[in-house]
Assembly symmetry: C2
Homo-oligomer: 640 residues x 2
């Protein structure tokens, strides 16, 4: 049995983005990000790390084990890019990296570069997360296979997956474990879909079912390894270590987003995949519950998740500190993955809304306009002096690379595959989730249809969609009505239409012929967004949003002491297109007030009411901050 | 040469407080705090710890070394109490504790209970702070001697101090070191004043002069001990370890309050003592500069200092986070010690203002009304869920004791000696710094004078002062005009007077005869205090203050989600005496607004302006918070 999925995604190979908001970012990704990351992965020793014989100490200090998944992500990113934009130089680099991984595979299929004792193979799943690394390699192998039809790497990863199938499970002699860092679950489902080998799905299902069963597997591991503590890393021990790894109770019983946010959202994505493939309604219910926990109570307005720096983790409902916000780029990307899966299953625009919110804000903030600098944590307020001496992963400016460089190649693969998020099909409909200049090839009602979008979205309100079926045919064009939008106008071939709404999508059902044109205009006034009163950090504050774009104040435009700026409720806010600013963007302008600092001198407290003055307020898109001189930044603005 | 000190403190034995605000707290301290702490010090093994032979491992795990100074503080507290309120039971306990310390003294005077290798004696000053522990014992010994005239303990501590004099200094064979935890500097000056042995002052001066000289002493220590890192504790290493210990540069060159706040303020107090005794104007200038750094740019409105939990340390100018405020009770007490010393030297009411601010707020918040529960960190905002699982020293409710129990006996000695902060004398004047029901015996112009105060201060505005000289004599009664007060009325024997003001003191110079009565009324409207716009956490917020008392909102009076309460600028605020509340206090009432939570349901963000409702606001004195059911608390209230 399978759950009747509402939609099927349109594969990334079917959607080209040339130009437009995402097309330009994808181009930078292709030209700057991928080559640089290859260089850094080589330089740091990650390329070649799989050939390290970890019980041969004579070769000196080997690379750190948690680097390895980065290779898989880079291969995945490069593969997406190669399929749409052939590039022999890049292809050669991919081959080199793949070769270096394949060479490291042991006879039995084992694949993992790490200086651990020989008998530690799959023995310390809580900390070594071998399966996480393998999962990323599997994703890379599937993408490479789909891009190039070369099977080598896919075969390698199937051999590794076969070893996992032999090693893990409930049969005698098998380990009843699961990885400390979920990821392999969704990767195994990808491998299953690519190879149609059911046992990979079964293993994914086993991992999902087994997780969090008592007696705790990690405690048994620790006892076997005679570890003094449950784990080597203190932060694992938050709430006993299990909570951190989403293994504190069976997944079906989990009510709240728990632990390390990247782990959580990779896991939820894998759960959704398993539910979709196996028809497990109980598991799907758990996914929906966890979705609500994440997005209704624990998500920043930027779509960032995992607010606590300690453990890079979820904390508690409505706990969304701004200055110490972690909101790891990888977690925000993983939220897109989860949203995308839930969207295909439930077909509800709520998922696409969150996907869009994360993509335009908390994901894109993770990479600079140069494509070569990255945020690991995405703070919502930055006061540079407070970040002085911070670790690279909580820095106040983007970094080229990190000690644990999970985020940069994750951004690269997301940008390279952005096309897959744009539309989906169902039996008799094409669903458009994201508005972006693009050309998608879909199949609906047995016929090929091209959906071409032209738009300056998110800066402009209008989207032109040209529908080109191979021959005249009847189907529904299902256009997402964005959650932030209160008023939209639709025209088909120049005539206004009033589409029916269903699950947040505007449905235009007709017999389409080549060149039919749909024009949509989404009204995009500047909105002042409030947070739930239980978000104690944002009481009395608003965030500025226009369309899907969340704004922030930067010192570059507004001077120092941003926290003292206050926006009167009555201030008119105007959107203005600035072609020369930050690659071209819409800024928001208004009149604010701030105190006159001069009168304070050296005084710390005063009881007389201090003087204020009018100040110009200029807000820029949050995702574009930190592309100018370093300085203060702030998303939530005081209102009076 | 000595600096001409503006004032001499009136000794603690000369001031009795029976009843009144401080008298009552002192009584609880005597009856509940001191006996309980004796019990806990016994139970935890601190009493008896000095007899531990630290190279005899057969006795098992000995007590932790940093407990030891707590004994000295407890003896000091008990001694202050005994002098004013004889108590044979308490006296016997003091004798027992003193005996247990004295028994541990080695032949050469060495005194320190710690399981360190034999050759570690004074070898790891950065971490073991033997001198800190000795300093507290010296303070205890001086207080006990002054209270009882028994010399035993004083002799013990002189022997220990003599060993220090032989060990440390610039002569050949001496160690050119200083302690990682300053304290002994001020203690040596106390020992000098009690014994008139000049070498103790010289040693204090040496420690002050040597501190922070290059090449760094701690690095030499580390090299000698072959320590892998400079120190065992990570937090020592903030800014290289030296900054944490105020040893990053010579004290005379330090511009900003640095490092661990308790260490810093004990050190500055010792510096002020050395400056006062030696007439070192350069050193005094450094004290004034550091005073301004602490109190003009790095002090909470409660008089709390050391805002950073990491390292219990000063951070940077205007960095005063509320929810994570550390503001350790010991640091706030140490600020009182520093203020009191600077006040005697400079005779300026600014010092007394800070002393009063800390005493009525950030110091007193450290102890519950029961006298048996304590805060280590004094947060300015508490959201209980955010503190769940926090260490005892950052807990959201007061604790009986701590792993490192420095604060509770520090509160005990402060409360037991509160009399010493009330007044001072100079050649021809008696200066009153604190208004409190009390009876002080002073000497002015060669004559004994009793200054009796009767007042319900800080709750009421009026203070009645009865002056009783042994015989009619002319002198100045110098009454501190509190910094928070804008209007005061003075009457002498019923007739209004307009005293001249000098350095913040109102001077009433006349020929006083027995029973002369001065009536003062300090106007105490409810004030809304603003913080400097550079304090980013408090923009748009005010703190309520009436007289010296800073207020806060508690969940017990105002319900949950305090951060969402907003006080209109136009709201009238009324002070109301509540005899039955929290031992009797003045509360502040007003009308505030808050959002209607009901409409939000499960929604995290909304763009429509949400409804608000009127809400009663009740503020209670900050120092009295957390004496009812646990819940939210907040000092800085949003204003609109």
């Amino acid at each position: 049995m399978t759950i009747k999925r509402a939609m099927q995604p349109v594969g990334w190979k079917q959607v080209r983005l040339d130009g437009g908001f995402w097309g330009k970012r994808q181009e930078t990704n292709r030209k700057a990000t991928l080559p640089l990351q290859y260089k850094l992965l080589k330089k740091g020793g990650t390329v070649g790390a799989h050939q390290w014989d970890w019980w041969d100490k004579s070769r000196g200090r080997p690379p750190w084990r948690i680097w390895v998944g980065d290779l898989g992500k880079w291969i995945e990113a490069a593969s997406y890019s190669l399929a749409l934009h052939p590039d022999s130089g890049l292809a050669a680099k991919v081959d080199e990296v793949v070769r270096s991984i394949r060479k490291g595979q042991k006879e039995d299929g084992y694949l993992y570069p790490n200086p651990i004792p020989r008998d530690y193979k799959f023995a310390n799943l809580q900390e070594y997360h071998e399966l996480y690394e393998l999962g990323h390699d599997m994703e890379g192998a599937v993408a490479l296979y789909q891009a190039t039809r070369k099977r080598d790497f896919l075969d390698t990863m199937c051999r590794a997956a076969n070893l996992l199938c032999r090693t893990f499970g409930r049969r005698p002699g098998q380990k009843r474990g699961y990885d400390g860092h979920p990821e392999v679950e969704l990767a195994l489902v990808k491998l299953y879909r690519a190879t149609e080998n059911r046992k990979y799905l079964d293993l994914a299902k086993y991992f999902v079912d087994e997780r969090g069963r008592t007696p705790g597997y990690f405690a048994q591991e620790a006892a076997r390894l005679k570890k003094r503590k449950m784990t080597f890393f203190d932060w694992y021990n938050i709430k006993g270590g299990y909570w951190y790894c989403q293994a504190h109770k069976p997944l079906r019983e989990q009510e709240e987003a728990a632990g390390h946010a990247v782990r959580a959202l990779y896991l939820y994505s894998g759960m959704a995949d398993v539910a979709a493939e196996t028809g497990d309604m109980g598991l799907l219910e758990a996914c929906r519950r966890l979705w609500r926990s994440v997005t209704h109570r624990r998500m920043y307005v930027t779509g960032g998740v995992g607010s606590a720096p300690f453990g890079e983790a979820f904390s508690f409902d409505y706990d969304l500190p701004n200055e110490t916000a972690y909101a790891e780029t990888c977690a925000n990307i993983a939220l897109v993955l989860f949203a995308h899966r839930m969207l295909q299953i439930d077909g509800n625009s709520e998922y696409a809304d969150v996907m869009e919110r994360a993509l335009y804000n908390g994901v894109l903030s993770g990479v600079g306009l140069d494509g070569t600098s990255f945020f690991y944590a995405n703070h919502l307020t930055v006061f540079p002096q407070a970040s002085k001496g911070a670790a690279d992963n909580t820095a106040a400016s983007r970094q080229k690379w990190f000690g644990c460089a999970c985020c940069p190649p994750n951004v690269a693969r997301l940008l390279a595959s952005i096309g897959q998020y744009i539309c989906s099909t169902s039996e008799d409909a094409v669903h458009v989730h994201l508005y972006a200049t693009s050309r998608a090839k879909c199949t609906v009602g047995g016929k090929d249809v091209e959906i071409r979008q032209e738009t300056n979205y998110p800066w402009s309100e209008t989207v032109r969609i040209v529908v080109t079926p191979e021959s005249t045919c009847r189907f529904t064009l299902s256009l997402r009505m964005p959650g932030w939008c209160r008023k939209a106008l639709f025209k088909v071939n120049g005539n206004s239409v009033k589409p029916a709404m269903h699950r947040g999508y505007a449905k235009i059902t007709r017999t389409w012929k080549k060149g039919d044109e749909v024009l949509v205009a989404f009204s995009m006034p500047v909105e002042r967004v409030e947070a739930n009163p239980a978000v104690r950090m944002n009481c009395g504050k608003i965030a500025l949003q226009r369309g899907p774009v969340v704004y922030c104040l930067e010192e570059a435009d507004n001077g120092k002491y941003l926290a003292d700026m206050v926006l009167p409720k009555s201030s008119r806010l105007a959107a203005e297109w600035k072609p020369g600013l930050l690659g071209g963007c819409v800024v928001i302008r208004g009149k604010a007030r701030r105190r006159v600092i001069a009168g304070w001198d050296d005084k710390l407290y005063g009881s007389s009411r201090s003087a204020t003055r009018t100040a110009d307020l200029v807000a820029v898109p949050y995702s574009l901050w930190a592309n100018r001189a370093p300085g203060e930044m702030l998303v939530w603005i005081r209102e009076c």
